[in-house]
Amino acid sequence: MEQIKRFVADFGLPRIIIAVYLLGLFLMAPMVGVSLPGALSDTSIRIGMNGIMVLALVPMIQSGCGLNFGLSLGVIAGLLGATCSIQTGYVGARGFLCAILVSQVFGAIFGYGYGTLLNRVKGGEMMISTYVGFSSVMVMSIAWLVLPFTSPVMIWGYGGEGLRTTISVENFWRHILDDFLAVQISDFKFPTGAILFFLFVSLAIWAFFHLKIGTAMTAVGSNPSYARASGVDVNRMRVISVVLSTMLGAMGIVVYQQSFGFIQLYDGPLYMAFPAVAAILIGGAGVNKASLTNVFIGVALYQGILTMTPLIFNAVLKLDMSDVIRIIVSNGMILYALTRKTKVLK
């Protein structure tokens, strides 16, 4: 009994409920005629698609800046990267790399400004980052109307103004990662490239936190007074973490687009941060502490639920409640994290 109690305390009740729920869904799948390989394949594709976006939250949580609800800034940088790449006309790996590179440049610039702002509003980061993110999305919406892009793939044919709301990347770099070394067995497809890329970026982040600078960043998040007394420039570390987070967000959205097949402009990035935040919290991260394990568990559980819920509900009840369940689960998780004392889960 004691052991069970400790396990529940260590793992967190909401996480257990979610894991049991997901397990239940997978168990039910064959019984109600849902193809399990197909479901697993969908889940793995979604993990590859969203993994880096979740990873992007780690640096800011580690440096004590909290949950990055302003991830939309990174997404904007990614959109700029993708649109610039399409404008150049490069296709395939060249186009994808170009998108990533340009997005990283914008990510670094945006992240620097954003980080500098957050340093001046310590304590109020979460709410401010949300609304800074929102207002930046609107500024960019104006920009999409007026930026001088000329690629016919992106601009409205006639009668419209500015760029299209969704731009297909089909003829450029769709599925460039997903299809790389992909394993296809009947209706099961494993997006090897995307998963490898995600693991590679995770490895880089893991390595970063083993460097002198990453160690300093962790200390800043753990106790800023201690870090300062040890000669660490706390503000600089925080800015670096924000830059890193924004750049990862930018890379994450480009990876997302290659899998999704479209670039979504205008209101698109508005709520992009929330699913990522929910995922890392489901993975067991706290507001001030996150590990790569949290990222992996979180993205798998969250994306698993998103994939499985509509499949099973449609098959059993003939109704699609997935939206409602997504809203309740993800926001419930964030709410839970905000109201509990910050304790780290293993």
């Binding site: 109020g124 709410m127 609304y131 104006i142 309740i328 709410l335």
Partner: protein
């Protein structure tokens, strides 16, 4: 004392920066929009009657030190549920609206209690908690409106239901109560319709707020808002007082949403309430309120300025740059941006006050050799 003059001017500018900014913006945008004055006047009077109640609902939590009540969308949901039932039962006009308010009351109280209790668990981050709680309850609300209504909860009017036989339609027509308030006491001055009953409602809620501030409970709320520890030490029930502030705010938001929707004439079942919080909060802030201080004049001035911008921005955008969408995005940018700006100013001011307080402790000593080394 030159420096104190300077710092006082700085303080004045910081405190009124937002209002000044918006007056300048609007002064530029109105002529650029080329909209006729009479049209603007009519629209503003209507919108003042439509939205002010919602904005005033935000005042008490600010007084209680809980910041901008992003959880007010919970009240808006309660109001909508009340309206949907009244539509189903076919009660028309003013009685229908009053019944809707009555129905929303218990739901609002329950939701407000929930919201207040959760915020008590997250002291110091009430705003972000209320914000996320709004999203979370939106899921619960959708579960209720789209799945429970018509299946578990009886709905007799098939026109309200989705074709599948349960769940409320995306758009609910409020024809039977549409603008019942505005039409109840018709008054036309120089061709401009004045929604007298709306204004009476607003006057009533304003009077309530003014009276409330004079009560013991209001006094306790102000004390809790300024210093929870001190208030608690004198025996004031801090958490209970905070919950009461949120409950009242939620109830008023429910009434406000009913007033708002009856003017529009339709409910967008799944997202009418979503923007209520953001629009109301942006309005209040544009009126010069801050996270810690807000008054009825702030609310009214804010509604006028916000809606003026709302009206003229798209046209001004079109006339100046030739793009209507641009004005629309600009307006949305302003709504989000003013909230971001207010939150930033609030944090800056707090930091500045902490610095001042620290320097004050030392008195005059030591500073004669200038700023030897500061952080």
């Amino acid at each position: 004392m030159k420096s104190s003059m300077k710092s006082r001017l700085r303080l004045f500018l910081i405190e009124n920066a937002v209002v000044i900014l918006f007056i300048v913006l609007i002064a530029i945008a109105i002529p650029a929009s080329r909209l006729p004055g009479s049209f603007l006047l009519q629209e503003i009077l209507t919108r003042l009657g439509r939205s002010s109640f919602l904005v005033i609902a935000l005042l008490l939590p600010i007084m209680a030190g809980m910041g901008l009540n992003f959880g007010m969308v919970l009240g808006a949901m309660a109001g909508q549920i009340g309206l949907i039932f009244v539509m189903d039962w076919g009660i028309v006009g003013i009685p229908g609206l009053l019944l809707a308010m009555l129905l929303s009351l218990p739901i609002s109280i329950l939701l407000g209690w929930l919201c207040g209790s959760i915020m008590n668990m997250a002291k110091g981050r009430e705003m972000v908690t209320g914000f996320i709680l709004g999203f979370f309850m939106n899921g619960v609300y959708m579960l209720f409106a789209l799945y429970a209504m018509g299946s578990i909860i009886p709905v007799t009017n098939p026109e309200l239901l989705l074709s599948r036989g349960y769940g409320i339609r995306n758009v609910v027509d409020l024809e039977s109560v549409r603008q019942a308030l505005e039409r109840f006491i018709p008054l036309k001055v120089w061709g401009v319709n004045i929604p007298v009953l709306n204004y009476l409602f607003i006057a009533a809620v304003s009077a309530f707020i003014v009276w409330f501030r004079k009560t013991k409970l209001g006094q306790d709320m102000r004390a809790v808002g300024q210093d929870r520890a001190v208030a608690g030490a004198t025996g004031i029930a801090v958490e209970r007082t905070r919950i009461i502030a949120i409950i009242i705010s939620t109830v008023l938001a429910g009434f406000g949403q009913i007033i708002f929707l009856q003017n529009l004439g339709t409910i967008n079942t799944t997202n009418s309430h979503e923007q209520t919080g953001m629009f109301s909060i942006a309005s209040l802030l544009i009126g010069g309120a801050s996270v810690t201080k807000a008054s009825i004049p702030n609310a009214l001035v804010g509604v006028i300025l916000f809606h003026l911008l709302f009206l003229v921005a798209p046209m001004a955008g079109k006339n100046l740059i030739g793009s209507g969408m641009l004005g629309e995005y600009f307006r949305q940018f302003v709504s989000y941006g003013v909230i971001a700006l207010s939150l930033v100013l609030y944090e800056w001011k707090r930091a500045a006050q902490e610095d001042d307080a620290r320097a004050l402790l030392r008195g005059g000593a030591g500073s004669d050799d200038g700023k030897g080394g500061t952080l």
